[in-house]
């Protein structure tokens, strides 16, 4: 009995000391996981996931505070990638956060625009150019299609236009009905 206590106490003491020490000394470190998650997110910065931007959502996923199926722009494939990265089960997109939509860009009706700059302030990626009391325009190649500019516009001159398919961005379709991935 006494030896038992001695042995175990010794082991426990050493172990406890080492672990306590280690936990303090080696605590702070950037979380590389967040970067990996962030790299998967589409960077639309739309906030549909319930976080102010993609990176905060990435942080939340890494901390286990958010599920992996909250980003509609990332779509089904995004969820799959996240599931893969985190070794979790895939689950369909949570519809509470919205549904996957075809890519679109914002377009400002330049006739109606009154130059209030509200959309500029709303755009998370500075894709709108223009100055106060001047007509505003969206730089289409920079617009992520997040729709954040649509609501603030006081004269409703912003619409989302789906990206048209052109000879340049046309994609070859999957050859036949996929047998494997159909389900």
């Amino acid at each position: 009995m006494f030896e038992a206590l001695l042995v175990m106490a010794g082991i426990a003491l050493v172990l406890g000391a080492v672990l306590g020490f280690a936990s303090v000394r080696f605590k702070v470190q950037g979380d590389p996981l967040v970067d990996k998650i962030d790299a998967i997110l589409p960077q639309t910065q739309c906030g549909q996931c319930g976080f102010p931007g993609c990176r905060p959502y990435a942080n939340a996923i890494a901390d286990g505070e958010a599920d992996i199926n909250q980003c509609p722009p990332g779509g089904d494939e995004g969820v799959r990638k996240l599931a893969d990265l985190l070794g979790r089960e895939y689950k369909p997109l949570n519809e509470e956060h919205g549904v996957e939509k075809p890519k679109a860009v914002a377009m400002i009706d330049e006739q109606t625009c009154i130059g209030c700059t509200l959309c500029i302030q709303a755009c998370p990626v500075d894709a709108i150019v223009g100055a106060a009391k001047q007509m505003h325009t969206v730089v289409a190649s920079e617009c992520t299609g997040c729709e954040l500019c649509v609501a603030p516009c006081p004269v409703d001159c912003i619409t989302m236009e789906p990206l048209p398919e052109t000879v340049q961005n046309w994609k070859w379709k999957y050859p036949t009905i996929p047998i494997g991935k159909a389900a």
């Binding site: 960077q43 910065q45 700059t117 150019v129 730089v139 990206l163 050859p175």
Partner: protein, 551 residues
């Protein structure tokens, strides 16, 4: 001198079926009433239109100017009036429309004023600009602007190869061109050879074209060697041909120029000669009409001619169920025959269920390796297929998906009838799409972060300035307090009020001077886009916003 020939791995030997369309000389086609000239006819930038609706143009007049370093001009194929600049269905597997200049031919076919080209006295860049403006692009299939390929590389170029292999079944446009116009091809080759300062010129022709070989041998000048190469599809692929003739293997993603080689199609050489000697821009080409037609033959066709018109000349048989542009190995079914002939059109092939039978049902891959045995670039097509199927795009790239030249040999031999090339095309375009998304995401992240940082900075600055201001105001108030001491309010209260007033004033000022700061640090083309937007805004008429250019 006997040329030592090399071999490439794999390849297939489909029945060549070239006899029918080589029985008659190259014919010409009556002038169509409407010519549809797509602006985008070469790899690279889409030419900028130089004409407006209603303009009158002459044959050979430039109607689209090259845009960017890799691009080539387009020209009016005949004289007439520009009726529209609008989207028309392209001869492209997508069947999507793209911007075209539609010219109503006036029937005069009056040439634009041509001046002889003093090419010997021109500097290299000048001459290349001339070729660009003459719209000379590779006629071997890729329509790569030829002037780009005629710039000497870092290493001296020692060998120019002319590609007269024409390995696809049915197609005979190069064959006929070589039989009938060998002298001008040799002439073009000479010009190219001079521009590249090469030591020798090799012309590779498959040995199933004895007439063309003879004609070319007869016309060949000194330093130009006409070589018969074994008939084996795809010997006409640039890399395969270079391998056969020189033994050099040009890896995917690398240019022949890096190995001191350059390769052009014989048709390209011919157009080159025409452009220099006759100042004739690329407005027509030889097109084979073959397959399920009564009168297979080659035609010299104006670019922009509706394929309908060309096909009608060949008199398709009633059981024709589809029309291909290009050969049966690499061509594609035209979404509509109303699409125009373009510079890339080498063949219009009418198909019937017996001539081009519908594919048997696709079965599972049994990993037999036959496809790998026949792949001319030593790929493992079944692995690529497997990765494409499982959407494992990273692995597909690791296994050199992008080395695939889409020659179709693998699909041709697969015992399970798997449309392997389709899987590769699908995989490739998915990867490209993903890459586009990725760049867009990276850009968005960068801009988002920049904006956040800027807002932080502004907030901080503002807070600092406010603090400083408040301090100053308070000082001032404190200083002036004794003087204004007779007021009803207590000095402290007064100070506060002043402070608020000052802050309000500042805020007001700030607000009215708000100027979006997101226009700092713009790249050149971003700036260009913005400029364009500004210009449009100035015009205030145009209301459409162009979709972003993706290529």
């Amino acid at each position: 001198m006997l040329q030592k020939l090399f071999k490439f791995h794999g390849g297939v030997k489909p029945d060549s079926r070239k006899q029918d369309s080589t029985r008659q000389p190259i014919r010409s086609l009556p002038l169509p009433s409407e010519l549809i000239v797509p602006l985008h006819q070469s790899i690279g930038g889409t030419p900028r239109p130089l004409v407006r609706v209603g303009d009158r143009v002459l044959k050979g007049e430039r109607i689209g100017a090259a845009e960017g370093p890799v691009s080539a001009a387009v020209h009016a194929p005949s004289s007439g009036i520009v009726r529209a600049i609008e989207d028309r269905t392209m001869p492209h597997p997508s069947g999507l429309p793209a911007s075209c200049v539609v010219i109503e031919a006036d029937g005069d076919d009056r040439w634009f004023e041509r001046e002889p080209v003093p090419w010997k006295s021109m500097k290299g860049d000048e001459l290349r600009d001339y070729l660009r403006d003459a719209g000379i692009v590779g006629l071997g299939g890729a329509t790569f602007p030829s002037h780009v390929k005629l710039r000497a590389g870092a290493k001296p170029t020692h060998t120019l190869v002319l590609n007269g292999a024409e390995c696809e079944p049915f197609i005979t446009c190069d064959d006929m061109l070589m039989r009938e116009r060998a002298a001008e091809i040799i002439r073009g080759a000479g010009i190219m050879a001079q521009m590249l300062a090469v030591e020798r010129v090799l012309i590779g022709i498959e040995d199933n074209k004895p007439d063309a070989l003879a004609a070319m041998r007869a016309a060949a000048a000194d330093g130009i060697e006409v070589v018969a190469i074994p008939t084996l599809y795809p010997a006409g692929g640039e890399k395969q041909l270079l391998r056969v003739l020189t033994g050099v293997e040009v890896a995917a993603g690398r240019r022949p120029l890096e190995f001191g080689l350059q390769c052009f199609n014989v048709g390209t050489a011919y157009r080159m000669a025409r452009a220099i000697d006759h100042a004739e821009p690329l407005i027509s080409r030889i097109v084979t009409v073959a397959g399920n037609v009564e009168a297979p033959a080659n035609y010299e066709v104006l670019v922009g001619t509706p394929i309908d018109a060309l096909l009608a000349a060949g008199r398709p048989r009633p059981d024709t169920d589809r029309v291909l542009m290009g050969g049966p190995m690499m061509g594609f079914a035209l979404p509509t025959t109303a699409a125009p002939v373009v510079k890339a059109t080498n063949c219009v092939l009418a198909g019937s269920p017996s001539l081009l039978p519908p594919p048997p049902p696709e079965m599972a891959c049994i990993r037999c390796g036959t496809c790998a045995d026949h792949c001319p670039v030593d790929l493992q097509p079944f692995e690529l297929y497997w990765f494409g199927r499982s959407h494992n795009f990273g692995k597909a790239q690791e296994y050199h998906l992008f080395d695939c030249i889409e020659c179709g040999c693998c699909s041709y031999v697969c015992p399970s009838n798997i449309p392997l090339v389709d899987y590769f095309r699908f995989t490739k375009s998915e990867i490209w799409a993903r890459e586009r998304d990725k760049t867009a995401a990276d850009l968005a992240r960068e801009r988002f972060e920049a904006r956040n940082e800027r807002q932080e900075r502004e907030k901080r600055d503002k807070a600092e300035r406010l603090a400083a201001k408040a301090e100053a105001t308070r000082k001032k108030l404190v200083d002036t307090e004794p003087v204004a001491g007779a007021g009803t309010a207590s000095p402290a209260e007064e100070a506060k009020k002043a402070l608020i007033a000052a802050a309000l004033e500042r805020a007001k000022q700030q607000k009215s001077s708000v100027k979006p700061r997101n226009t700092d640090n713009l790249s050149a083309d971003k700036q260009a886009e913005i400029d364009e937007i500004e210009a449009r805004r100035a015009r205030a008429g145009g209301r459409t916003v162009e979709p972003p250019e993706n290529s």
